[in-house]
């Protein structure tokens, strides 16, 4: 149990809801897939832009000290990093972790790496966009659907908490998603652990003319740590035509975490309420 620095202005801001409780970490930018709406243009050829394991642990520890209430790890595909499960397990001793993955690297014995996270305060969030393999794989790549629907029940049976995230270009309450909702339930994932969210028009989605327009104030102001610096929101450190977007960059300094957290608090305090709830970005 980490002692919270209760007198720190960031801790006070998290406690009163001025700042969101979750800190995101982009563990890496490269990915075994190349999805059409990817915010970071991730693919097997992407520069890795990788955080060190020690940095991720320090972020977790200092986030807990500053009163943050949760961590998120995303990429790229985090499971491409061989040391990731052990690092995330250690991070979860400080705060609960949501770990985003495409779920396609768990075939055969490789699922044992994900099963290391069972019975720890870690939830795997796996992407699945359609109940139809052809539609799902159109955006996410060949055999994606088959690999995910094979992996999820094995993970659930192994004691891993699994959430399913669906990214859609349509309305979030589209009845056309009902078959997918039923599929998710049949895989052993509770309905409350199925998130449906819009495509945000940044990164590759912007180049592909996809998704909803969102300004900074529309994007949840979750502190987001990358190898390139700290950003406003997990939708901040996007990549377009190979170049990192810096419009939502807060600081290049990531540790001590209080430095970017203070910068974020400064910006949040001077910004009017956004449209994030209406856009469904949360």
């Amino acid at each position: 149990m980490t002692d919270i620095l209760i007198d720190h202005p960031v801790a006070a801001a998290v406690a009163d809801g001025t700042l969101p409780g979750r800190v995101w970490l982009y563990s890496n930018y490269h990915c075994n897939l190349a999805c059409s709406y990817c915010l970071t243009e991730s693919s097997p050829r992407s520069p890795r832009r990788q955080l060190e394991a020690a940095t991720m642990l320090s972020v977790a520890e200092q986030a807990a000290e500053l009163g943050f209430t949760g961590l998120g790890v995303t990429g790229g595909e985090p499971f491409l990093l061989p040391w990731l499960p052990e690092t995330v397990r250690a991070m979860a001793t400080f705060l609960p972790v949501v770990l985003l993955t495409n779920g396609t690297l768990f075939e055969g014995d490789r699922i044992n790496r994900a099963l290391l996270l069972a019975d720890h305060d870690v939830a795997l969030q796996i992407s699945l966009d359609s109940h139809r393999p052809d539609l799902n794989d159109l955006a996410r790549g060949e055999d994606n659907f088959a690999k995910v629907v094979a992996a999820v029940p094995r993970l659930v049976a192994g004691g891993v908490t699994v959430r399913i995230a669906t990214t859609t270009a349509g309305p979030l309450d589209d009845p056309g998603l009902d078959p997918l909702r039923r599929l998710v339930t049949s895989l052993g994932v509770a309905p409350e652990n199925h998130l449906v969210r819009p495509i945000v028009r940044r990164g590759r989605a912007d180049l592909e003319d996809l998704g909803v327009e969102a300004e900074a104030r529309d994007i949840p102001s979750e502190l987001t740590i990358t190898a390139d610096g700290a950003f406003w929101g997990s939708f901040g450190p996007t990549v377009r035509s190979g170049r990192l977007d810096t419009d939502l960059l807060l600081t290049r300094t990531v540790l001590p975490l209080s430095a970017p957290a203070q910068a974020l608090l400064g910006v949040v305090s001077g910004m009017p309420a956004g449209n994030d709830t209406n856009l469904g970005i949360r």
Partner: protein, 199 residues
């Protein structure tokens, strides 16, 4: 061409957007915007060190333009040639600071010459300053003024290396002013004058 990318208004980080609100903030601000947490404190320091102070703009420009000439910083020489002209320095005084004519010829006032000799020793050499530069300056100038100008020289040295190292471009407006006022864009290397370093 600059050696680094200079973000425009669209890619300017959140905390730096204010500096871009009035249009192009110039290459130094644009470059610093790449590290947002450095921008405000650096500009605060540079603004305090180079801006109005007890020393007065004439002596500030002595320090800034002479330091820039000794360092061979084209960007800062260009920019502060126009600032010095606007501050009321004569064309010969500006040429003297730029090293195009001897300081003795440009500055008949003995007190000012001692100050320029001290500036040359501060900005144009390493090691402790020669007594022949210190003693005359101390006769004419109070400690606080030398401290203020030392800070101006230090901030200018930082800007000189920053602008020269990254090859920041002179703005077209400054180039036009230099043409209008008859000052050259190309400047030969300048050697400091007098004995600079104590043995």
């Amino acid at each position: 061409m600059p050696r680094i990318e200079l973000p425009g208004p669209e890619q300017a980080p959140l905390t730096t957007k204010l500096y871009f609100a009035g249009g192009d903030p110039g290459p130094i601000v644009s470059a610093l915007a790449q590290v947002p947490e450095l921008l405000a404190p650096t500009l605060a320091f540079v603004g305090a060190a180079l801006g109005p102070g007890a020393a007065g703009i004439r002596y500030k420009e002595f320090a800034i333009l002479r330091t820039s000439a000794l360092q061979g910083c084209r960007y800062c020489i260009h920019a502060h040639t126009t600032v010095a002209v606007d501050a009321g320095l004569t064309p010969d005084e500006v040429r003297g600071l730029r090293g195009e004519i001897p300081l003795d010829a440009a500055f008949p006032d003995e007190a000012e010459r001692t100050l320029l000799c001290w500036i040359d020793a501060m900005a144009g050499a390493t090691g402790p300053i020669a007594e022949s530069a210190w003693s005359p300056a101390r006769r004419w100038w109070p400690d606080h003024l030398l401290v203020e100008l030392a800070t101006t020289i230090g901030a200018t040295l930082f800007l000189n290396r920053f602008a020269t190292g990254f090859e920041l471009p002179t703005s077209p407006e400054v180039v036009d002013r230099l043409h209008e006022t008859g000052f050259a864009l190309d400047i030969d290397p300048v050697q400091p004058e007098g004995e600079l370093v104590r043995d």
